[in-house]
Symmetry: D2
Subunit: 342 residues, 4 copies
Amino acid sequence: MSKIKVGVAGYGVIGQRLADGVARQGDMELVGIADLAPTLSIRALKEKGMPYDLYLVDGADKSQFDAVGIPVSGTFEELIDKVDIMLDSSPGGVGAKNKELYVKHNKKAIFQGGEKNSVADVFFHGYANYEKGVGQNYLKLTSCNTTGLIRSVDCLDRAYGIEKVAITIIRRVADPGDYHRGLTNALQMDKAPSHQAVDLMTIMPHIEATGILVHTPVTHGHIITVVAKGKQKITKQMALDAFLTHDRIRVVTIDEGFKGNASFFRYARDLGNPRGDMYEIGLWADSIVESGDDIMYAINIPQESVTIPETMDGIRAACCMETDRLKAVAETNKYLGLGKWK
Amino acid sequence: MSKIKVGVAGYGVIGQRLADGVARQGDMELVGIADLAPTLSIRALKEKGMPYDLYLVDGADKSQFDAVGIPVSGTFEELIDKVDIMLDSSPGGVGAKNKELYVKHNKKAIFQGGEKNSVADVFFHGYANYEKGVGQNYLKLTSCNTTGLIRSVDCLDRAYGIEKVAITIIRRVADPGDYHRGLTNALQMDKAPSHQAVDLMTIMPHIEATGILVHTPVTHGHIITVVAKGKQKITKQMALDAFLTHDRIRVVTIDEGFKGNASFFRYARDLGNPRGDMYEIGLWADSIVESGDDIMYAINIPQESVTIPETMDGIRAACCMETDRLKAVAETNKYLGLGKWK
Amino acid sequence: MSKIKVGVAGYGVIGQRLADGVARQGDMELVGIADLAPTLSIRALKEKGMPYDLYLVDGADKSQFDAVGIPVSGTFEELIDKVDIMLDSSPGGVGAKNKELYVKHNKKAIFQGGEKNSVADVFFHGYANYEKGVGQNYLKLTSCNTTGLIRSVDCLDRAYGIEKVAITIIRRVADPGDYHRGLTNALQMDKAPSHQAVDLMTIMPHIEATGILVHTPVTHGHIITVVAKGKQKITKQMALDAFLTHDRIRVVTIDEGFKGNASFFRYARDLGNPRGDMYEIGLWADSIVESGDDIMYAINIPQESVTIPETMDGIRAACCMETDRLKAVAETNKYLGLGKWK
Amino acid sequence: MSKIKVGVAGYGVIGQRLADGVARQGDMELVGIADLAPTLSIRALKEKGMPYDLYLVDGADKSQFDAVGIPVSGTFEELIDKVDIMLDSSPGGVGAKNKELYVKHNKKAIFQGGEKNSVADVFFHGYANYEKGVGQNYLKLTSCNTTGLIRSVDCLDRAYGIEKVAITIIRRVADPGDYHRGLTNALQMDKAPSHQAVDLMTIMPHIEATGILVHTPVTHGHIITVVAKGKQKITKQMALDAFLTHDRIRVVTIDEGFKGNASFFRYARDLGNPRGDMYEIGLWADSIVESGDDIMYAINIPQESVTIPETMDGIRAACCMETDRLKAVAETNKYLGLGKWK
């Protein structure tokens, strides 16, 4: 079987990682990436010898690329023409505009969380609703927090049944290297309920969810606390047992040295992971407590890379590479090395 | 009736505010404060013209004070001798040692949250268990987070009955001007359950409580989210109605401009509050959401000053100035100007 | 002699402090302040009982103020009509527009550092070029960093003569409570030379100045290092002697407890200064070092309040309240309590 | 010629990078690393499949390693016995104790900046005083700031002659993932002159140096501004020309996207550099300004990795692998890929 041909629109924080993720899938081929300007990321691509071909989106000034010796392989539409499916990680709102081109060229696409749900046929999560994405033309991925949160809730839900969750999202406010946003010595409130709780209900309509989000001035990993009500009482041990089986959840303890979100970043760098990234969420075993019949726990969301596996799942679903949910996620996990630590 | 004579041991972040708080009570007299070294706070006291008399604790080197012209009024024991009750805000552990002197001089004392519970006869909160403190010799105040948390839970509990709470504490890691502790670009986990949940159960044994605490690198105000299960269903409106009646809870909205913990600090400075302090906790009306039958909300804890009112309540209880809970807190509130904003 | 009547346009971080500063001058009268919306600062004004009358600038929606019970005393032009001079601390660019009204009403005005130099007749600093402002209609104050920097350079220049300075500005990036700007875990470069060096040369054209500015994610006080070349060699002791005579420079040491910019903020709060403000710059005696024939030192700039004294000087100059430089600054210092610590 | 055998003591932030650096040198062999406890870094080593053999220092509890399945290859002394030279990156002070073992086993060693100068025969910098290290038994590397600073000063000194420098160090206060130190919303002063200026004079005794150091609450890269006085006037172009020839100085501009210290970290991650590290310092072309006859500029110091190349140089010197300074640094640069970007 020939490989599925994939293109990436928008080579920013997420786009770079989508491209890297596709390049690691043995049954996919990264045709190229598209962007607008010679950003630091594009300059790094050049310094690395152009492992990915670069195409220019409409509005790009090719002379800017020529001036610094960055080779250009063609236009955005030429890229679209060559692929089976586009991964769109353009800035929020641009994806909806790009969709017109995907439709024109009769190509499938997967959008990231910054776009409106209406851009897609299905709001998608690899573990929670894989089947809904099979054969669809346009998928939208859940955002980073929602993707990680759903991994943990879906894990408990499939094991024991979940009725209700109340979440507190302690959100990192910028990525390392961001200069276009930030917060200094302040926590910032969003109006409740947080969109992540609402999004969870869209993906998992049998669960009632609400939550509060607080922005914090850090760059490494969101932390979410979850208070979940099971259909039966879920003990600490039951929760732990379920989480330990999951290939995209790394169960850790403070005593091992995982003191907070920055520990995961440090550990990923020490592991030699490209870009110091981690695909799995972290889950602190020593955060799990019983609250009456409810269960409470805390997870760490590596915001830059957490949606990559579920996007790979999305390609498998949309392109009908695999119709079985568990086989599909297992394939993605294999190529990304997920679950190896167990 | 003559005024109750009060001394303060430890003129740090809390001690200064205890002294200021006592000085504002019309029925109390601040006899003096005691400390060990010519810190910035003691130097500021001198620059202000010594509004409070300074006594030196054992181990202090008087020549250091003489060298910079700071007048000393006597020894720690001389201060103890002159007062009816001591407020002890020494560094954690020192209070237990000081207690020997209080016992020796047959004087009452109130300890802050850093000491072990065993230092005192009663673990005290002005609103939640005032009666237990009446006539007692040694009280220990709840810590800043617990004090503010209990205000809100006690408020709902007295109005509707509360069975269970699950809290997430987003903790500020240092005070403005702290150089002896800090955290840089990292969130840090504590093992669950947090001591604040345990402390709440000590004060309010009829409630089951648990929680997770996360440290964040900011200096202005902790934020706590609370998921509370009522004896009956508590709607958003019911919760709001209860909170609005409380003289130590300021109900605000994001739209008014209270965007986060730093907004309260800014507002207190703009109000002209001494030191930019706020005695009341903040409660975001637009954070209140229903989670099934549970109610969820977020509060802001001004860590430097929040325990001052409850400590004043403690003086009233220990010294039998007032035996009625509501009359006692009303007296404190009157002198501190609490609830005026309503 | 009747008091000079002053109005303030823009009741933000600077405007509030200008109003407070004017209110402390025995020979001036604060007529009122003008603003656009019921911000937190205006709400605090109301909670304090409206110590200053509020006027609404063009575009303000009075119904928003009525809705929350904030009394309005009239329009912006009505305020202008009642005063001798306006202090304009509107957002950058708005002052230039407001100037049309000041000209129309034939009133003097002083603009803050955010406006272009062309808005004013004189770019003004109370200590460095007071005489140039005497009797002028439109002054523009130097920005916070430049104001504090010039204090120290002018101090050395008048004592020993300065030929050249090279500065490094370690800039705080936001004020406490700011949510509209910030930086997270990053230092940010500006292109050299920094505008503060250029501005210094405009005020002190006999000195050559250049410098580099780096933004840092903190809210309490800029720190500037200065390498200054004197007309003669200036020793550490000579520099210290000069700084110690200045009423707007507080000379401190690390050993006293002034460990950094946050120590000044803490100290100002402990002093009981309104808003925790400090009008004087800090200068670390233990930062002064000789670099060959040059002298190097570090100062702390309390960005929210440092320009207030020089703006008061500006009123004295523009309104011809005093023609002598030293008498004028002494008058301002007396009313603001500056130099008392010596 | 057989490869030089190297061991690393202390597998922390620096030790890991030293090991990685040695592993990249074609003419060296990494025999193993030694540490005390199963830290996160050692756990990561295990998860990677033990690419480096682990030896245990005295005091280590082997059962802790056994409990988590980390294989141990022997004792510290067994490691020392197998190598030609040890790189000691133990916590400050431990290196001096380790030296007794190196002496006992008659092995050479290179210490990092945390040790006292007296631990070594030579205080070493690959570019500035390579010749002094040739054939010596014990070298001590300059610290991260000093290493990067000297690169730039030595570069100008060899091109044009430098007489004097005055530096301002804007120091990052922790590394990503550090939880044992940090600073929150505060800048912190050190007493002047900074040790880096003093250290520069030890390495380059013909230059007079002084400076001021300010700690800032960030984790990615120190920034240093330098005011340098040449033996002749050095123009902006002359400085730039010199810096552009250097293989360990990356000349960048703000317009390219290098907005601050975090940009270098982001760029290194995007380049795919292991751990997101960068061996070269950054130098902003648009920070270079002339201050009279002096030249001023700003550099970025990647604190975790900047000393690795000079330590590799140190091995070449101590082990007499190369006696010529330029040939030695060129060999190191070749294996580390330094200067390729030019």
